[in-house]
């Protein structure tokens, strides 16, 4: 079986002083020499194929027998249909696969054969001929000689790359100042994010946290239809969500110019993390820390939303709040800086 060429052998002598002994002799398997073993292997393989067929039938039966959806059959709290279909499909394929492999291992030839390798490169004469054809072709095209033709073509080709890029222009509108504002306006009430009801300072105990949205999110017109809906609603929510917390008023260290942004210990901060924009939701009432569940940036709501841990670089934007005539919490204005993740043209002083 040794196919080493004599020439190669002599070359390899230096590197490998031990001569290549060639492939070890082939040994016969029991199934090659013992008809009983051969018969037994045949039966094994056929049995595996039979089991596969039984599983396929089981698959078909359970497809029609087991119901899903409302009031569907369950098995160990799992959907019985999914479990049965999965088990039977798995059996059908696994037994088939094991059967085929068993057939290959026990009954097909286990005689290893040898093939010569060739280098990856083409034979020298082919390469020469190709190079010659290439240069003949290039020569005949005149691409090297006719500079005017070549360069004007190159220029035109470079230019033709522009339309496909320009065509993508309408993928979306330009950002404009969209990232710098939200739907919060002066005097807009702060509403609980599920019920949409406004909040009075007296509704909140010290240590309470309310997830809130601007009231406009829940506004309905005369027909009871939501004013903001669909994509517009999702966009509005993605920027205007706030957390409102109440702490002892003397625990608050207001930022410069933010002395009147709180109402008797109640402060409101953007819920959108300044790292990559996850909504932040984990609050520790004793430390006033708000933790982002995505990358664990932690902000101190008693200290102007400062980052005290994690990958975020900027404090959470604070929503200036006050109470209106009816005693409900309202925004004094929109956020005074863009909420959410940083972007390049964001002016952060």
């Amino acid at each position: 079986m040794n196919t080493n060429l004599p020439a190669e052998r002599s070359r390899e002598v230096e590197a490998d002083p031990i001569a290549n002994p060639g492939l070890p002799a082939h040994t016969w398997r029991p199934t090659d020499v013992d008809p009983h073993a051969e018969r037994r292997a045949e039966r094994q393989v056929a049995l595996l194929f039979g089991l596969s067929a039984i599983c396929t039938l089981g698959f078909l039966v359970s497809y029609f027998a087991l119901s899903i959806g409302e009031g569907g059959d369950t098995f160990l709290n799992l959907g019985a249909s999914t479990v049965a279909l999965g088990l039977f499909m798995s059996g059908a394929f696994l037994f088939m696969g094991i059967g085929i492999i068993q057939w290959a291992r026990k009954l097909m030839s286990d005689q290893e054969i040898t093939e010569e390798r060739h280098g990856a490169a083409s034979p020298q004469e082919d390469r020469d001929a190709t190079l010659e054809a290439l240069s003949a072709g290039l020569e005949e095209s005149g691409i090297g000689r006719r500079r005017l033709v070549r360069n004007s073509l190159l220029g035109a080709v470079a230019l033709i790359a522009l339309p496909p890029i320009v065509l993508l222009r309408d993928l979306g509108p330009l950002p404009g100042d969209a990232l710098t504002r939200t739907i919060w306006t002066r005097g807009m009430r702060i509403a609980r994010d599920v019920l949409g009801t406004p909040i009075r300072p007296s509704d909140m105990e010290i240590g309470d946290l309310i997830n809130a949205e601007p009231e406009a999110i829940f506004e309905v017109d005369d027909n009871g239809e939501h004013v903001i809906e669909g994509a517009e609603l999702q966009i509005a929510k993605s920027k205007s969500a706030v957390v409102v917390v109440r702490m002892e008023p003397d625990e608050i260290i207001p930022g410069p110019g933010r002395e009147n942004w709180s109402v008797s210990g109640i402060v409101a901060y953007s819920k959108i993390c300044t790292h990559v924009g996850c909504p932040i939701s984990l609050y520790e009432r004793t430390t006033h820390h708000l933790l982002c569940p995505c990358h664990q940036s932690t902000f101190d709501l008693a200290d102007a939303g400062k980052v005290i841990f994690g990958p975020a670089a900027r404090p959470l934007p604070q929503l200036p709040i006050t109470v209106d005539d009816e005693g409900y919490l309202v925004a004094r204005s929109d956020f005074t800086e863009p909420v959410g993740p940083s972007f390049w043209e964001r002016d952060s002083e």
Binding site: E70, T82, S109, I113, H275, G277, P279, G310, P311, A312
Partner: protein, 456 residues
């Protein structure tokens, strides 16, 4: 071997049987050859030799799980509706009935609860995606450790690296489609990463989402990438990968009779075809078993996407774990110059380092050739210990990978082992430099001492 085997042996021919009269199969082959002229190509390839070793099976797992992905994916596409239009859910899953959601999410629930076998197919699709990427990773490590990427196979290594990248992108696009709370959070993080790009960030984000995040076009756009563009590229590159494999012939382990000049193993027809074909059925069967018994991505528990909510302990699919870990341990660095913001805390872990890693992987064969000056062809595999620096490099990379993975789950580790989350993160910031370096030197030393003991 004193047994006279001549009487029994039917299946162990040492030379090709010469057909007297064309058999029925032969008749078909002749019909085809008269029209397609396949005889010349098939002459060599029908009995093409493939060497046998368990580690050569890893790439096959990737190939077959891709086939499972195509099959289950076609099934899912018959019902899935890639639309963000709002509907009120009226299906059979009680807790969500009457709730507003996108059609994408509603149709995912429909597949899971009202289509028989739908949940099985969804779970098989997700599990085989995990398996596809895991198998590519392990296959890459096998090729790396044994030096199978060396000349003339450098380009096939590059194709493999690109396939791994495409697989990860395909996986991310796929698990973003159901538009549930978890996948929406993933997209939001992607949006934050895109926005951090200098100069163009907010424009790229607006062009991606058709306006502000989340908009109403990202799901249909991801869908066409997920079912056509990326799978088309993957399929084309797999074809190139396999053609090059056939052209170069498979590498083999050295041994008596196995040299740089030959390839020893079993012929494609019938043994290799049967083993590889049977293995496809096994991969399919195991995926079906996982899909039937192991719940994955139960999107009905997360609820529809709402940009003001998040699930605690949000975790991406496993192959995103290192990006997640990098993002968690990078300190909050940001630079402000001339009214612009440079978010190093996002750019470094999510844009720069993944690019650097990809470039190192793709260019490794060329770097190694340049360092060692070894420009010869290699068809015999190396034992990892015989290339200590390379092996040690991989050991360091695996260590770093494991650390980042742990850092990506720092909240879960903190809860499970009752540790302080902040200390885990501080530890990781140092460990990511120190421990892989230690791993490099330990692995290198270990390889060299294994070589010594081989020589004794």
């Amino acid at each position: 071997m004193s047994i006279d085997t001549g009487r029994f042996v039917r299946s162990n021919r040492t030379e090709a049987a010469t057909a007297k009269k064309p058999s029925r199969v032969g008749g078909v082959a002749i019909w085809a050859d008269e029209r397609l002229g396949l005889g010349t190509a098939m002459k060599k390839n029908l009995r093409k030799v493939f060497p046998d070793h368990w580690s050569f099976m890893l790439g096959e797992i990737a190939l077959w799980s891709f086939v499972v992905l195509l099959l289950t994916g076609i099934f899912l596409s018959l019902w899935f509706q890639p639309s963000m239009a709002e509907v009120t859910y009226e299906g059979s899953y009680d807790p969500l009935r009457g709730i507003q959601m996108s059609q994408a999410y509603a149709s995912t629930l429909h597949i899971s609860f009202e289509i028989r076998g739908g949940l099985l197919m969804r779970q098989m699709h997700h599990w085989s995606a995990m398996l596809f990427i895991a198998a590519m990773f392990v296959h890459l490590m096998r090729v790396f450790l044994t030096g199978a990427f060396r000349k003339p196979r450098e380009l096939n290594w590059v194709i493999g690296g690109v396939l791994l990248l495409l697989g990860i992108l395909e996986g991310f696009a796929g698990y973003s489609l159901p538009d549930d709370l978890l996948s929406g959070t993933g997209l939001r993080i992607a949006d934050g990463i895109v926005k951090a790009t200098p100069v163009l960030g907010s424009y790229m984000s607006f062009f991606m989402f058709g306006g502000e995040f989340p908009g109403e076009v990202i799901i249909p756009r991801l869908y066409i990438a997920h079912v056509l563009l990326i799978p088309g590229l993957i399929l084309a590159l797999i074809t190139a990968h396999m053609l090059l494999l056939v052209y170069h012939k498979h590498t083999q382990w050295p041994g008596p009779g196995r040299t740089e000049k030959n390839v020893v193993g079993f012929p494609m027809l019938p043994v290799y075809m049967a083993k590889a074909g049977g293995f496809f059925f096994m991969v399919f069967g195991i995926t079906a078993l996982m899909g039937g018994l192991l719940a994955i991505n139960p999107v009905w528990k997360y609820g529809p996407y709402d940009p003001s909510k998040v699930t605690a302990g949000s975790q991406p699919d496993w192959y995103m774990g290192i990006a997640e870990g990098l993002m968690r341990i990078t300190p909050g660095w940001e630079t402000h110059i001339f009214g612009t913001t440079w978010s190093w805390n996002v750019m470094i872990p999510a844009q720069i380092l993944p690019m650097v890693l990809l470039m190192v992987v793709l260019s490794w064969p060329f770097i190694e050739q340049w360092v060692t000056g070894d420009k010869r062809e290699h068809h015999l595999l190396q034992r990892p210990r015989n290339a200590p620096t390379r092996t040690a490099f991989l050991a360091a990379m695996i260590t770093a990978y494991g650390l980042l993975w742990a850092a990506g789950g720092n909240d879960i580790i903190a809860v499970m082992f009752d540790l302080n989350l902040n200390y885990i993160t501080y530890f990781m910031r140092v460990a990511i430099f120190v421990i892989p370096t230690i791993a490099f030197f330990v692995a290198r030393k270990w390889c060299i001492s294994l070589q010594r003991s081989d020589q004794e």
